[in-house]
Structures are given as structure tokens and as C-alpha cells.
């Protein structure tokens, strides 16, 4: 009885094993190019960067020398460059994200009014988001020119002199905030615009029947319904802004002094200008840890939001 039943089953399982083996081989063949690139140029560098952060190296010595926590202790001295960069990064992120979110919501809501020509405004608002950051940086360098840039014309309208945006430490950080916000604003606006058009209209009609209008409708209906998008844009906005490099490199070079040095610029400067590999690796690790917290908050929140729509 058992012997009779086993024979065909075994034959089938042999064929099945061959099938599984063949599929498995094919799977690996298809996956390996991408997986290898991700491991070699993504995961491995992240881990080895952590190792390097406990060493001292300048590219010239034959090998990195272990120094324990020294790099971190130096970095977290009060008044250190890292502290300055953390402060600048926090200001840069706070103002670019807050500014583009508020401005983007307002513009998105305006575009959703379906006025004539709003298609044209949509296009032109999104265009800067397509441009290389280097082009945006160099363009704004000219616009900020206190003698021959548009900045002079703008401030002259109010009878004032243009600040020396990129060459004085009081203004350099604000210069990169403005240029970066200009590049990102249209992107946020278009996302909000699409999200507003996507809102379920029947709820609004019901609320309108109950007499809710204008600001109240916006406060109690539109804003809460948009909150998943607001959350998404905030988190991705923080992550993107915290990594901004090209606009800083073309506009201020992190200066004058260290007045517009943010974390990515500091990492670059320590590694490829000062050749202080261990310190740069430690700074990169600090930045990674901070961004990881932001990302984890998003993943936790997003998994709770799965059934939202």
C-alpha cells in the first residue's frame, strides 16, 4: 500500500526538485547583477565606513590606524566643527522644509482652483525641480550678486541695499536656504495639487451641507485628509534637504568660514580637502544615525497607515 503510493510521488518529487533547482539558479542569475552592485557599493561601504570612523588615516599612510573613540570625542567637543555643521544643517532643514511645505500647500491649493493658465504655472513651477543642483546654484549666485543681480533690483524696490548674500557669514546660510527652497517648492506644490484633486468630494459636500465653509472647511477637513501626504513630504523633505550638496558647492562652498557648512559639506571637506579620513567617516556615521531615526519613524508610521486609502 505504502510502496505503491510512493513510487509516482517520488518520481514527481524528483521532477519537482529539478524544477526548483532550475528556478533557483535562474533566480540568482537574474538577481546577482543588481544585488552585487547594492552590496558592494551600498552595504559594504556603510559597514566599512563605520570601521574607518574608529581609525586615523590620510590616504597616504599604508593602512588606517585604530584610535578607538577618539574621532567621536573630538567631534563632540563643544564649539567643534561638527556642532557648527549640526546647527547649520538643522536651520537649513527646518526652514527649507517648513517653507516649502507651507508655500507648497498654498500654491497647490491655488492651482487646484482651476483658474485659466494654471497649467502653465504648474509647468514652470515644477521645472526647477528637474534642473541640476549645480545649475540652480550658479544661477542663484548671479541672482544674488549685490551689484548686477536681480537681488539689487528687488531690494531697490523697497529702497534698500541688497545683502551680500554669498560673501558674508550673516547671509550665506540663508542664500542656500532660498536657492534650495526655490528648487523644491514647485515639487511640493504639485504633489499637494494632485493630492487635493484626489480628495473624496462627497465628504466635502456633506460638510458643506452642514454649513462648513472656507477656512473652517480647510482646517477641519482638507488639512486632516492631507495629513498622510504632509507626513510623507515632511520626512522625505528632511532626508533630501539634509543631504543637499550641489547647491552649497556652487553657491557658497560652505563659507565664508564655516557659516554655511552643513553635514554633507563637512563630510566632503574632511575627506577630500583635509584628507582626515577617520573624522570624515565619524561625521558620516553621525549623519547616518540621525537620518536612520527619521527613516525608522517613517517606516513605523507608514506601516500603520497601510489601510488608509
Amino acid at each position: 500500500m505504502t510502496a505503491l503510493a510512493r513510487t509516482p510521488a517520488r518520481r514527481k518529487s524528483a521532477a519537482h526538485t529539478r524544477f526548483v533547482l532550475r528556478e533557483g539558479l535562474l533566480f540568482w542569475a537574474l538577481i546577482v547583477p543588481n544585488l552585487a552592485a547594492i552590496i558592494v557599493f551600498g552595504y559594504y561601504p556603510t559597514l566599512y565606513n563605520l570601521v574607518l570612523s574608529f581609525t586615523d588615516w590620510d590616504f597616504v599612510q599604508p593602512a588606517p590606524v585604530l584610535v578607538g573613540l577618539e574621532n567621536y570625542l573630538d567631534l563632540f567637543q563643544p564649539g567643534s566643527l561638527l556642532m557648527e555643521a549640526l546647527r547649520n544643517t538643522a536651520i537649513f532643514v527646518l526652514f527649507t522644509v517648513a517653507g516649502t511645505m507651507i508655500g507648497g500647500l498654498a500654491i497647490g491649493g491655488l492651482l487646484a482652483q482651476r483658474l485659466r493658465m494654471s497649467g502653465l504655472v504648474r509647468t514652470i513651477a515644477f521645472a526647477p525641480h528637474m534642473l541640476p543642483g549645480a545649475a540652480v546654484g550658479v544661477l542663484w549666485l548671479f541672482l544674488f550678486d549685490p551689484n548686477y543681480g536681480l537681488s539689487r533690483w528687488f531690494f531697490e524696490m523697497f529702497g534698500a541695499d541688497s545683502p551680500k548674500w554669498t560673501t558674508t557669514s550673516d547671509f550665506s546660510l540663508w542664500a542656500i536656504v532660498i536657492a534650495y527652497a526655490w528648487q523644491r517648492l514647485g515639487f511640493v506644490a504639485i504633489i499637494y495639487y494632485a493630492a487635493i484633486l484626489d480628495l473624496p468630494k462627497d465628504i466635502f459636500e456633506a460638510a458643506a451641507l452642514d454649513g462648513a465653509t472656507g477656512w473652517k472647511l480647510f482646517r477641519s477637513m482638507t488639512l486632516p485628509l492631507l495629513s498622510p501626504i504632509t507626513f510623507f513630504l515632511t520626512v522625505t523633505g528632511i532626508i533630501a534637504a539634509a543631504q543637499t550638496f550641489d547647491i552649497i558647492a556652487t553657491l557658497t562652498n560652505g563659507g565664508p568660514g564655516t557659516s554655511s557648512t552643513t553635514l554633507p559639506w563637512l563630510i566632503y571637506d574632511q575627506a577630500f580637502v583635509e584628507f582626515d579620513i577617520g573624522t570624515s567617516a565619524a561625521t558620516a556615521t553621525v549623519m547616518f544615525a540621525l537620518l536612520l531615526v527619521v527613516t525608522l519613524v517613517q517606516t513605523r508610521y507608514a506601516s500603520k497607515q497601510v489601510h488608509y486609502s
Binding site: L26, F27, L30, I31, P33, N34, A37, V40, F41, Y43, P45, I107, L110, Q113, L115, I124, A125, P128, M130, L131, P132, G133, A134, A135, V138, L139, F142, L143, D145, N147, Y148, L150, L185, I190, I191, A194, L197, K201, D202, E205, A208, G211, T213, P228, L233, I239, F245, D246, A249, T250, P264, I267, A271, S280, A281, A284, M287, F288, L291, A302
Partner: protein, 315 residues
């Protein structure tokens, strides 16, 4: 309160059974159609005028800098260094472009940008297609663990891999070469994820039918799955391409001679070379860097915005 409501909103709600009123209309953005359209809200005339003024202001914020970029690249030098500003160039001065082209090797920059963008995009989309197909259609136990590892790489910020990738590429002897510029960027979690999501929507019967006809995986991928996913492949290609063209920090550190630099890096060096006293050529150089992306955007606006927006709205 209800009685004094300034806008009798109830008046313009169409009858619920009026099917034509709720017919989904294709959005001009090329997004998925809006579920239903509220009839244009009734607005007072001052309100409408105020909204148009606001929109004009928004337009100016984006249009004026872009206009300034293009007009300055064509202005004679005398009209750049004047105040009050010259808004409309009296004559079009193409020599700014010639100046930019000769004072920096823009021909080489352009060539390098095109090579890294085209080859890099082809490779990235290629490996993304293969791996997305494997995750969607090839049977393998535990493949979702590998999927998670790949998607997890999206959490690694570019700046943490910079230093070690530089050391790796230097160790391979690839500094200042095309393979050094291109290969570290071909691993793709984002494009793979986009394509995977699209492939999951492919009807299983179609793939099974091809299988019964004796088509192996490769033929099924090439003849059945890829054609169905073509729109998403195109969208992913555009988004990846824009990223590669605009890439800055990696080409900056991995190249060391002018003949290997890409356009954004070349622009930065043109800026420091020409300095503050030569805005005409510098703006012309900026136009050379920016124009390809603007042209691409105007040609494929719906697809690019649609791809980016749907990625965001679906989280």
C-alpha cells in the same frame, strides 16, 4: 449659521443619479482620473481677481529667475553690467556660448555627461528589470528576504558610501575612468521597486499562456512582461536619467582631470575660472547644463510628473 452661509453650496450639487456629471475625466496632468469633479465652486469677482493676482505672483517667482538665466546668456556684456537692469537684450549675443565653450572644455563635459547618463541608465534599468522579473515571476523560497535587503538600501544616504566607494574605486584603478563614474551607481532599488510593482499587475494568465506555448523565462520576460510594463519602464528610465544627469558629488570626487568631468562639475569649475566678472559666459554654460533637462521635461512632462506624483501619493 447655516442660513447666513454666504455661498449656497447646495445649489450646484448635481443630482446623484446624473451619471455624466460624475464621469471621471482625464486629468490634464496625466494622473489617474479624479474620482469625481466638483462643479467649479462659485466665487465672487473680487475673490477671483485676488486668486489671479496670487497666481501671477507665483508665476513670477519661478519664471523670472528662469527668464533671467536665458536672457543673460544672450546679453551683450554691457547690458549685464548696468543698473537699472536691462530686461530685454537689445541684440542676441551668441558669443557668450562660444566663450563658455572655449574657456572650458564643454565639448568633453557634454560627451562625458551623455556617456555616463546613457550607459548608466541603460545598465541600471537593465539590472532593475532582471531583478524585478525574478521577484515577480521566478519561484524561489525566501526571495522576499533578498527583496527586503535590496529595498532596505534606499535608507543608505549617498554621503555615507562616498568615502569607501572612493577607496574601492581607487583600489580597482578606476579613478578618473568611465567605469569608475558609472558602475557604483547601477545598483537600483528604486527602479526595481517601481518595475516590480508594475509587474505584479500583469495578469497571470498571460504569462501562463506563454509558458504553455513553451516560452522560457527569458522569452516570457521579453515578449510578454516587458511590453505590458512598457509605460512604467519608460517612466523609470526618465526618472533614473534625470538623476544621473544631475548627479554631482560622485563625479566631483571620482574625476580629476578636465577631460573626464561631467557638465555639472564643469560648470562649477567654469564659475570659479570666470569668476564674478563674466556672467554672460557663465550663464551660457548654465544653459548648456540645464537645457537638456528642460527639453526632456517639456517633451515628457506628463510622464515625469505623473510618475513622481503617483510614487508620492501611493507612498
Amino acid at each position: 449659521m447655516t442660513l447666513t452661509s454666504p455661498r449656497p453650496v447646495t445649489a450646484d450639487i448635481p443630482a446623484a443619479d446624473d451619471s455624466t456629471a460624475t464621469e471621471p475625466r482625464q486629468e490634464s496632468l496625466g494622473l489617474r482620473p479624479a474620482r469625481d469633479r466638483r462643479p467649479a465652486a462659485r466665487r465672487s469677482r473680487p475673490m477671483t481677481i485676488a486668486l489671479y493676482i496670487l497666481m501671477g505672483f507665483v508665476f513670477a517667482v519661478f519664471a523670472i529667475p528662469i527668464y533671467w538665466l536665458f536672457s543673460s546668456s544672450l546679453k551683450p556684456e554691457g547690458e549685464i553690467y548696468t543698473f537699472p537692469l536691462t530686461w530685454i537684450p537689445s541684440s542676441l549675443e551668441w558669443s557668450n556660448f562660444a566663450d563658455a565653450w572655449t574657456s572650458a572644455p564643454f565639448g568633453a563635459f557634454l560627451r562625458n555627461s551623455i556617456i555616463t547618463t546613457v550607459v548608466g541608465t541603460a545598465l541600471e534599468i537593465g539590472v532593475a528589470l532582471l531583478s524585478a522579473y525574478a521577484f515577480a515571476f521566478v519561484r524561489f523560497r525566501g526571495k522576499m528576504v533578498i527583496f527586503a535587503i535590496m529595498v532596505g538600501s534606499l535608507m543608505l544616504p549617498g554621503h555615507i558610501t562616498l568615502l569607501v566607494n572612493y577607496i574601492t574605486v581607487a583600489g580597482l584603478g578606476w579613478l578618473n575612468t568611465y567605469q569608475g563614474l558609472i558602475l557604483p551607481g547601477i545598483g537600483s532599488a528604486f527602479a526595481m521597486f517601481l518595475l516590480f510593482q508594475q509587474m505584479r499587475q500583469v495578469p497571470g494568465e498571460l504569462v501562463d499562456a506563454a509558458k504553455i506555448d513553451g516560452a522560457g523565462h527569458i522569452r516570457r520576460m521579453w515578449n510578454v512582461v516587458a511590453p505590458i510594463c512598457q509605460p512604467m519602464i519608460l517612466t523609470a528610465t526618465l526618472i533614473v536619467m534625470i538623476g544621473k544627469w544631475n548627479d554631482f558629488v560622485w563625479p566631483l570626487i571620482v574625476t580629476s582631470t578636465a577631460d573626464m568631468r561631467t557638465l555639472p562639475i564643469g560648470l562649477m569649475f567654469l564659475r570659479s575660472q570666470e569668476g564674478y566678472d563674466s556672467w554672460g559666459p557663465v550663464m551660457a554654460g548654465t544653459v548648456i547644463v540645464a537645457a537638456p533637462m528642460l527639453i526632456l521635461f517639456f517633451l515628457a512632462q506628463r510622464r515625469i510628473i505623473g510618475g513622481i506624483v503617483s510614487g508620492a501619493l501611493k507612498g
